[in-house]
């Protein structure tokens, strides 16, 4: 029934209306090495609702993998180097050639395990921003994982910090998403293009991002 001013219906005045939300139709494929996916295609997560679209997929910047990749490369080249200096060790170690071969194979399995663990830690340390909520999955070891989530409309503020020369050169930093007082804050640490991530989240919650 129309009121005095001719308006009728239900009005919600406390809820923020998402502005500038990226169109879910422009899906982009993400690779296994992608550290930032905007409207990523072919990515689903546990408990995803039918009408829920992933807007952002954030991992640590790819450059943060350099230390463990270098370590793995060094570890790969250690056995050939030891074999070059085999004559130095042979008087002290009398081990059958068959045992040596199994030892080397085992060593390379351990290196493969190291690479798998390091890649897993990077790959599953992921932040997801959907049109409904924000999810942060932290994996800091093979036996430790922590997942937290909050609704988009509970986000109060979003900011980023970029400290140090390496972070400035490679353009990555920490994105901090602050939620209502009782909720935990979310941090996407060492995220690539933090300014862009902040801009996208700010637009989703209806804030004007700082330029």
């Amino acid at each position: 029934m129309p009121g005095e001013n001719g308006l009728s219906g239900e009005f919600v005045i406390s809820e923020r209306i998402p502005q500038g939300t990226p169109e879910p139709s422009h899906k982009k494929s993400v690779h296994f090495y992608s550290s930032l996916g905007i409207n990523p295609d072919n990515v689903v997560f546990e408990n995803q609702e039918g009408d829920e679209e992933i807007m952002l997929l954030v991992r640590r910047d790819l450059i943060t993998n350099v230390p463990w990749i270098l370590t793995a490369l060094i570890l790969i080249f250690i056995p050939p180097l030891l074999f070059l200096f085999n004559d130095l060790f042979s008087p002290f170690f009398q081990i059958a050639i068959q045992t040596q071969v199994v030892s080397v194979l085992f060593y390379y399995l351990v290196v493969a395990g190291f690479i798998l663990v390091e890649f897993t830690i990077w790959y599953f340390n992921v932040g997801l921003v959907t049109n409904k909520r924000i999810i942060d999955l932290d994996v800091s070891g093979i036996l430790f994982k922590h997942a937290s989530e909050t609704k988009i409309n509970l986000i109060e503020d979003v900011s980023y910090s970029q400290v140090g020369a390496v972070r400035s050169v490679f353009n990555y930093g920490d994105v901090l998403v602050q939620t209502a007082a009782t909720q935990a804050n979310f941090e996407f640490d060492r995220a690539p293009e933090p300014a862009r991530i902040v801009q996208i989240i700010a637009e989703m919650i209806g804030r004007k991002p700082l330029k």
């Binding site: 494929s29 993400v30 690779h31 296994f32 072919n42 990515v43 689903v44 997560f45 546990e46 170690f93 009398q94 081990i95 059958a96 068959q98 045992t99 199994v102 030892s103 194979l105 085992f106 399995l109 351990v110 493969a112 395990g113 798998l116 663990v117 897993t120 790959y123 599953f124 992921v126 997801l128 999955l137 994996v139 093979i142 036996l143 994982k145 997942a147």
Partner: protein, 78 residues
Amino acid sequence: MEIFNFFLKIFSNQDALFRIILIILISIYGLFALILFLQIRNLNRIINQITFSPIFIVFTLVHLLATVALLFFAVLFL
């Protein structure tokens, strides 16, 4: 006395000692490879990147099978 001789024989033979240590280490590592496979399979359920997740699981399965194969080889042929 027989037991004493058995241990004396092992410790005087570097290769035998090394083989025993190696088999124990591979067994422990096999357990780690199994945990790694199960954890990665579970994590892929939480975040599933459809094009890559099956490949990732296959990698960890190959890693586990290689460890088991090496353990069998070490036990049977060393």
